[in-house]
Amino acid sequence: MKNRIKVLRAEKNWSQAELAERINIARQSLNAIENAKADPSLPLGMRIARVFGVRVEDVFDLD
């Protein structure tokens, strides 16, 4: 699943560690999600979208 986390993170000027702390997951896990090596659950996906203030479909997209 493709995602725009890196772009949204850059817009907010957040590091991976900062975002990981905000959504309460490990930095390594966020890195795996960001690089599409792992897919988050729906609640986690919604948490990610919420911290960016956007909709889930603005963050994630099917390949």
Binding site: N24, I25, A26, Q28, A32, A38
Partner: protein, 141 residues
């Protein structure tokens, strides 16, 4: 359950610390008649602490742990199964394994069962370690 890196390591350290304490106990006190009961209690506590540690991981780490244990357990069970021809060829090896549980021969069936159980557990932990390393290497981290 909330993700907590510190919580995970506390529970994990407690689990492995208990196993280390058991080894220290065996080293200093020898293998008394209470050892099977103490070992059983330590095994249960190890399991409970490990489950507590697991629930301190985030969902991505939990999924990875489950994959590692699922594949590692199968690998370990298959690896332990490969020992069967060796054990048939060298019956002394089977008694040597049972010595781990109870060092006075002749062994009772429960001693062989205990040895097999320990062997399977160790093989599954080793298998999980191999799968974990393989996953890390494939991911390049």
């Amino acid at each position: 359950m909330q993700y907590s890196r510190k919580g995970f390591w506390i529970f994990q350290a407690a689990a492995f610390g208990l196993v280390a304490l058991l080894n220290v106990y065996v080293f200093w006190m020898g293998r008394g008649g209470m050892l099977p009961y103490i070992s059983g209690a330590v095994l249960i506590a190890f399991g409970v602490l490990s489950v507590c540690a697991f629930f301190r991981l985030d969902e991505i780490q939990q999924a990875e742990h489950m994959r590692v244990w699922a594949h590692g357990s199968v690998l370990g069970a298959l690896g332990a199964g490969l020992l069967i021809p060796f054990l048939q060829a060298q019956p002394d090896l089977l008694d040597a394994l049972a010595d781990m549980v109870h060092h006075q021969r002749p062994h009772r069936p429960i001693n062989y069962f205990g040895a097999g159980f320990i062997l399977l557990c160790v093989a599954q932990v080793a298998g999980s370690g191999i799968v974990y390393l393989a996953m890390r290497l494939r991911r390049g981290t």
